[in-house]
Symmetry: C2
Subunit: 264 residues, 2 copies
DNA sequence: CTATCTTTGTGCACGCGTTCACAAAGGCAT
DNA sequence: ATGCCTTTGTGAACGCGTGCACAAAGATAG
């Protein structure tokens, strides 16, 4: 999933573009870029919708928020639309980003081509581990957390990516915000609290899997459902009697396991 | 963002639990687990909502879909709720998953602790590169794509993670589905087409950044907006005259760049 | 210039999700 | 036992997002 709209319920829809539409624009852009590379001059809403995996009516309505591009009886000019969407998304300018937390995930992100391919430039890799400092990852030398504020202000960075363990995320977040970051992409499994005006989007791998598991369980016919034992499950919550809990948990429970890198 | 509900518009809400609620259950579960580890016996909807970053009324309504757990005047029993949500999400059983595409991202996923911490077990790592075969990643030997079908059927795997380049994703997806996979978590920047009954959720790093860029541009006062030059931008789409395009693109455009690992 | 055909742009209705606000329920003190 | 106080569970209203279906617009052919 991804967040980013739970706060600022009024400021959203800045000029009238619904949040749901904004979320689909990158999808259209990708499909259009593919067409552009094949030198396709125009597309109909039907074709483009199929390529993007959405309803054609939805696509047309989405585009209508951007303006009246497109020609009736013909379709949309691919090159022109690529430019318009890019401009609307702010991709015609260069966006320096910093990645904080160069573990497995951070390194993968640094190497991820999808960043550079859309105007995003990795301005710096930052980690708290001193032994990592200076080491090159994806061709960029990792810098120590001490430099965080300097890097951000000197490079005019406004977008930060957090790929640290959950425990460090909020602290890193606070420093990023204090240093001037106003948009954060958070990979750490924590709820970040940020001041007004700062956007946070969350990518949570574990949550996605859990949602899949839910549907998977449903598809399995729900047979493995009646696993209730002789407790007081039916309706009554475990009141007084059951609530007696002698400080358990710190290393117990039915699914006894310890997170390796990031707790979830 | 993540998909997974664009198809099967009717089958959703299997027993009455809204999709939006399902997506939040893992969030509650995480907050509850944290409370459980601190041996907190009960929480009010207000406290738990704050910890999960949601509205308390929403949380109560979400829980009401699961049943009437909770005690008026007191709150919810933490341990009991942990169990109920885990069961609802299907986390009381073991879910073997396969990860296909052991590049930077795939390796990061294999090392990601959030998987193992919730009943998900990495059953196999699969890659098309023969030179990777046998090499251990996160303590598991990478296997060649040829083994894909065997691995899935022998281990009864129903959840697959695709972390391949975009070009290989659909092909891998088809093989996974044919082998019996019914839930897919897709990290490749492509729209996957799957038969009825197969769930796909998408995690797209590049899209998240683009959405952030959009809001960032808006926050910047929209000053860097009037960048139009003397073309025919205003309203008129580039009709006949402008549409004459001598097979351009294959290495041009205003943002000339080539994806490094994954095109987006 | 007129007719026909294609495709856009959108008015409208419907359904899901969110939020408010409050009655019902239960604990706890007296 | 009675009354007060806290917190749940939910009815109802509202707003956003989606999809249908069609009129308007323009291209194209004759």
């Amino acid at each position: 999933m991804a967040t980013g709209r739970n706060h600022r319920p009024a400021t959203s829809r800045s000029r009238g573009i619904p949040e749901a539409t904004v979320a689909r624009l990158p999808l259209y852009l990708r499909a259009l870029t593919a067409l552009s590379e094949r030198s396709v001059p125009t597309v109909s809403s039907e074709e483009l919708a199929a390529a993007a995996g959405v309803n054609s009516a939805k696509l047309r309505k989405d585009f209508s928020y951007l303006g009246s591009y497109g020609t009736r009886g013909v379709g949309y000019d691919v090159e022109y639309l690529v430019y318009q969407i890019s401009r609307e998304l702010g991709l015609t300018q260069d966006w320096p980003v910093v990645i904080v937390g160069i573990g497995n995930l951070g390194a993968a992100l640094a190497n991820y081509g999808g960043f550079a391919s859309r105007g995003f430039r990795v301005a710096a890799l930052i980690d708290a581990d001193p032994s990592l400092a200076g080491k090159p990852v994806a061709g960029i030398a990792v810098q120590h957390t001490d430099e965080l504020e300097t890097i951000i202000s000197e490079n005019g960075v406004s977008i930060g990516v957090i790929a640290t363990p959950a425990g460090a995320a909020q602290q890193v977040c606070d420093r990023l915000v204090a240093a001037g970051i106003t948009s954060i992409l958070n990979f750490a499994p924590t709820v970040l609290s940020v001041p007004e005006g700062v956007d946070v989007r969350k990518v949570d791998l574990s949550i996605e899997l859990q949602i899949l598991a839910f549907h998977e369980q449903r598809k399995a016919g729900e047979e493995p459902h009646g696993e209730d034992e002789g407790a007081a499950h039916p309706v009554a919550p475990p009141a007084a009697t059951v609530t007696k809990r002698p400080a358990k948990r710190p290393e117990s429970g039915p699914d006894g396991d310890v997170p390796a890198v990031m707790p979830a």
